[in-house]
């Protein structure tokens, strides 16, 4: 039975908006004293000054070895949670319990000194992270090897590129072997290979089951691949928490709604010369009923209505399916299909049939477009014209890992060696 290592109980964090406003010299001294001494509400602070809750009544719990993703728009309070966990700030109310050594991968290299060499910084940063000199000495070679900085280890870090900087920071932090690892949107730096190595290392750490990870990121795919559970935070409140795919789908929906509210025309935003226009796009199931929810393995039909002002020869109709964070999964193009469209003129309908959709539970978007044969001229491209959700039908349709997208029929054989 693994034990609870992180516990947030009705945690709130309140800030006062703006800077102090002293009412002349009379109010000055009491305010100064109060500002420094008071731990909670400031009686001298006018309520109208505007209190702002970075977190409001947030509760959650994590067991040893779990990974929790935190997603949410900017200003949701994600970093506040990490700061509270790192004990650099105190909650206004509520209780936080953490068990064990905490290491924070927040802003890589925050503890580095520019004038010092890589070697000196490893010792400095390591001790900031809570390692003993002896431990750093033991791990030194491994840290340098992980950061791939053997050649530059005695160069002052001010001469490092930002990628080298980040690599060294990550390499040290990952060697701390903490009980709780806090990661805040830091792995965006570093080249592709290093990033991959970092994530592999994180998976490896998780698989050992000792370390609990809290992962804050806007990279939905990474959250899905690393974290079984996710917390969706908005304006300091927990909007939804639970199994990652569900939370992520909900998060995406909410963000989409918010975007439409803020900018009603965003959905209509598209580009193209306008010689042909897409007038409508919708999805139907095999019975011809309009829907946006499908099961893995069911049939799906995308229907597109168009109108062309003049005759266009050999137009290309494209249907692209993407993940919610914009990765193209597949693209169907009429030019490459058996039924090439010779020309269009006036109004018409083009349908794209997908037999037994091989996608796992998640939310996907569809981008549609009409262009000329070689794709040089776009007549009309409508990004994210519509969306659909895949729900699981039965257990075998569930993806074994939350981040897999495609069900690719496969068989697994076992051939034990005969003794």
């Amino acid at each position: 039975m693994s034990k609870t290592v992180i516990k947030f109980e009705n945690v709130s964090k309140k800030y006062h908006l703006g800077y102090m406003n002293f009412n002349g010299f009379r109010g000055f001294l009491p305010k100064i004293i109060n500002r420094i001494i008071s731990t909670q509400n400031n009686p001298f602070q006018n309520q109208n000054d505007g209190d702002f809750y970075a977190l409001k009544d947030v509760s959650f719990e994590l067991k040893q070895g779990e990974a929790l993703g935190i997603v949410g728009p900017n200003g949701a309070g994600k970093s506040t949670i990490l700061k509270l966990l790192a004990h650099t700030i105190e909650p206004t109310s509520g209780k936080i319990i953490t068990v064990g050594k905490i290491s924070a991968l927040i802003e890589l290299g925050a503890g580095f000194h520019h004038e010092l060499t890589g070697r000196e910084n490893i010792y400095l940063y390591g001790s900031i992270m809570g390692l003993r000199r002896r431990e750093i000495k033991e791990k030194f070679d491994s840290i340098v090897a992980f950061a791939e900085l053997e050649k530059f280890i005695d160069t002052p870090v001010k001469h490092y590129s930002s990628g080298m900087y980040a690599r060294l920071g990550f390499a040290v932090a990952i060697h701390v072997e903490p009980d709780i690892l806090l990661i805040d949107e830091v792995l965006a730096v570093g080249d592709m290979n290093f990033r991959k190595k970092c994530y592999e290392r994180l998976h490896e750490i998780l698989s050992k089951g000792h370390t609990t990870i809290i992962f804050v990121s806007h990279d939905i795919y990474r959250v899905q691949s690393l974290c079984k559970r996710t917390l969706f935070l908005e304006k300091g409140n927990i909007r939804k928490t639970g199994h990652t795919p569900e939370v992520v789908a909900y998060y995406y929906n909410e963000m989409n709604k918010a975007m439409i509210l803020k900018d009603p025309k965003a959905h209509e935003r598209r580009w193209g010369t306008g010689e042909a226009r897409i007038t409508d796009v919708y999805l139907t199931d095999s019975a011809g009923k309009k829907t946006d929810t499908f099961k893995t393995g069911s049939n799906m039909i995308i229907t597109m209505n168009y109108s062309a002002a003049k005759k266009i020869d050999n137009p290309d109709f494209r249907f692209t399916i993407l993940t919610i964070d914009g990765v193209e999964i597949m693209c169907a193009s009429s030019v490459n299909s058996e039924n090439v469209i010779d020309f269009i003129k006036g109004k018409g309908t083009v349908q794209c049939f997908f037999e037994s959709v091989p996608l796992f539970q998640n939310t996907y978007t569809i981008t549609v477009g009409i262009s000329n044969t070689d794709g040089q001229i776009d007549f009309d491209v409508w990004p994210n014209a519509t969306r659909f959700i895949i729900t699981p039908t039965q257990n075998k349709d569930m993806s074994p890992y939350d981040s897999s997208l495609i069900r690719w029929p496969s068989k697994i054989f076992h051939c034990p060696e005969r003794v």
Binding site: K83, H87, E107, L124, S127
Partner: protein, 260 residues
Amino acid sequence: MVTDIKTLFSYHELLINIALRDIKARYKQSLLGTTWAIIQPLSLMLIFTAVFSKFLHVQTGDTPYPIFSYCSLLPWSFFASSLTFAIPSLINNSNLVTKIYFPREIFPIASIMSCFLDFLVAGILFVFMMFYYHIQISWYIIFVPFIVCVQILFTLGIAFFGSAVIVFFRDVRYIVPLGLQLWMFATPVVYPTNVVPAKYLSIYMLNPMASIMDSYRHVILYKNPPNMKYLGIAFIISLIIFILAYCFFKKVEMKFADAI
């Protein structure tokens, strides 16, 4: 407070590493390196010798003015540079203060430790000057470590208080250099204590730095015991300030990351 000090002690490796960082970083990419630790008090000594000894004819008895003033400029420089580095140490490390927790007093203490090294380096020159001016050493010199300890205790108190307040009020940044300048003239650094009118002396000596400077001169240059009454008062005032400042520092510590 006892538990705070115990916790602090468990972070001694980090403390040493941050002090080392401060030392290394200060003299990296400078040609003269640690020689600067000597140049600063030395040049002050030269200018004060010119002004006070040659122009104004300040009487320092049998002691030549250069060694008379260096004897106090050395610990005064230690005091002044300690505060100059320690007070803004928290805001200069704001990226660490907001991100990772460890006892925050590590920053001002590490600044003082790095200045202490400068103090020792500059002390080498003082030893040479002792030989040059044929200053005889008496047994009372064993008081020096104790006086240094009182000075450090006092410095820590001021540094804790200043570094905590500057997080909330950056005004302190402008107060420090001004305050140090005024303070130096309220302290017998460039003139002997006996020029102070007797009726003001007891008030004058409430400044712990005054009796600390006076004590250094007594035990090193005058072959006397220090004035135990004044040194005792300085010790008690320093201790009280240290305890109050440390408690204050720990009380507001958790607000640093929000206010910085």
